[in-house]
Subunit: 79 residues, 2 copies
């Protein structure tokens, strides 16, 4: 199965990468008021059951893919 | 308006970050066959028209947010 994990900086948490992108976009003339940069992790899993896959990917997020102190994640499972 | 840009390494292009994540996940005991890592850029725009916003974000992608040689991007506009 395929899983897509979106990892985002938590609201209120400083996002230096987003700030840098926003500064560069404004410098290029774009009218952008806020920018946040996160990660997109796409996985191909051996699991064949959607619920088992979701639970496995949640454990991956907690152990490696996201930092729960400063980031949120959401998971989409597709066959 | 809000825009979400997903930037992914093109199929066939080497993705060292994805390879590193895959190696770490397998080391942790997860059965993952492929991993690709991209970026998620969320923007708050001054533009009020969805079509104008999309065109503006496409220009941002071409100029700054994505490297068209090795990455693809897709854009979702929300009010």
């Amino acid at each position: 199965m395929k899983a897509t994990v979106s990892v985002r900086p938590k609201p209120g948490i400083l996002d230096p990468q987003g700030e840098a992108v926003r500064g560069s976009l404004r410098h290029l003339g774009f009218d952008v008021t806020e920018t946040r940069v996160g990660r997109l992790v796409e996985l191909e899993l051996a699991a064949t059951d959607a619920e088992a896959a979701r639970q496995e990917v949640e454990r991956m997020c907690e152990q490696l893919l996201a930092n729960p102190l400063i980031e949120t994640f959401d998971i989409v499972i597709a066959p």
